[in-house]
């Protein structure tokens, strides 16, 4: 059985969101870079994988998937379904809630910070500090809710690790690469949750992927 192919660069936290799920699920996969500089993302080959011409995309045999969180769920369902708890109505509902929260509350405010601090300078632009500061304030409000939640349960969906926790890893690793990592310090249960995630071999593997080569 050929390994699954994950298309995209490890620079992208959407790509490494998928890598985290694939690693934790123990999926057999390889990362295939897509060259944006040569417009490979607009090539007919890539548009067949992702008609919006974006990364990540996943190929598993004849199946092509796109949108990082769909890819993550597919990997979990295929290779480690306990990450989704789909046999249990209430537990799977809590996993869904916190996967939506990751997208709509956490990553939605981290994205502009990460773009301004990590990406914009790489593209020859400047960092808009106002955008960073506004979103850091929003992030603190979100982290208050996370702190309250993680005071009551070990992981976000309950006392079990789920895809909801794992979907936070790639953007949080990127946050640690900015000068704003200390924003987590005021939230001890969030820090403890993050530390336990960092201990996982899957997360360490993704962290190593994201380090710029020497």
């Amino acid at each position: 059985m050929a390994p699954m192919k994950l298309y995209g660069a490890v620079l992208s936290w959407n790509v490494t969101r998928c890598a985290t799920a694939l690693e934790e699920a123990g999926s057999d996969y390889e990362i295939v870079p897509i060259n944006f500089a040569t417009a490979e993302h607009k090539s007919p080959e890539h548009l067949a994988r992702n008609p919006f011409g974006q990364v990540p995309a996943l190929q598993d045999g004849d199946l092509y998937l796109f949108e990082s969180r769909s890819i993550c769920k597919y990997a979990a369902r295929k290779n480690k379904p306990e990450l989704l708890r789909e046999g249990n109505l209430e537990e799977s509902a809590m996993v869904d809630v916190w996967m939506e929260v990751e997208a709509n509350q956490y990553t939605s405010v981290l994205n502009p910070i990460l773009f301004q601090v990590l990406i914009s300078p790489m593209l020859g632009g400047t960092t808009d500090q106002k955008v960073v500061d506004e979103n850091l304030e929003k992030l603190k409000k979100v982290l208050e809710v996370y702190e309250a939640r993680l005071t009551k349960s070990k992981y976000l969906a309950g006392d079990f690790l789920s895809l909801a926790d794992l979907n936070h890893v790639s953007v949080t690793l990127c946050l640690l690469a900015t000068p704003y990592a200390s924003v987590l310090d005021a939230y001890p249960h969030v820090k403890a949750w993050w530390s336990s995630l960092m201990e996982r071999p899957s997360v360490q593997k993704v962290a190593a992927m994201m380090k710029p080569s020497a």
Binding site: R69, S70, K73, K78, L89, A93, E100, Q105, V142
Partner: protein, 222 residues
Amino acid sequence: MAPMKVYGWAVSPWMARALVCLEEAGVEYEIVPMSRCGGDHRRPEHLARNPFGEIPVLEDGDLTLYQSRAIARYVLRKYKPELVKEGDLEGSAMVDVWMEVEAHNIEATLWPIIRHCIIGQYVGRDRDQAVIDENLEKLRRLLPVYEARLSVCKYLAGDDITAADLCHFGFMRYFMATEYAGVVDAFPHVKAWWDALLARPSVQKVMAGMPPDFGYASGNIP
């Protein structure tokens, strides 16, 4: 069995996402109306249900859920699992793909247009045509992909309706009430798909609570 409760204001496109799935599921539920202008969503009793202070919120016995797509998935998984293609590895993946496409592309482009074309006039916000035009441009680049998809299958995840289609309803409802509906109508398969959604009894029932003025001029300010 006590009916499920859904907290929020029925004119909300996020509320509509949850309600249309409840209707499709055929489950007994009641809406607990809340007032957005009265700040009900920020009160302690609501924050106890949803610490992010948003609607909709679903209560099913002891279970309290928020985030409209999580509510949609729970309700359908419980009562109509075929609508999330439960147990079908590839089918469920396609449902997820198109729910994500809606979340990151459709909601994100239609909501600013709706805010400026419909809501703005009632809340003292000047219409910003530049914002409308920017999002219409994005929409014009998305729709050919939808058209291509809906040319090969009847609904987004395959030939059967699923949560992926239903989740588009709320934002589409208001966008199609603006002067820009023609942007969608220009794509015949997308238009046919939208008309098929509109014909569903579940959609018609939920639409009855969503006047095109968002409630502002018809005396039901959210």
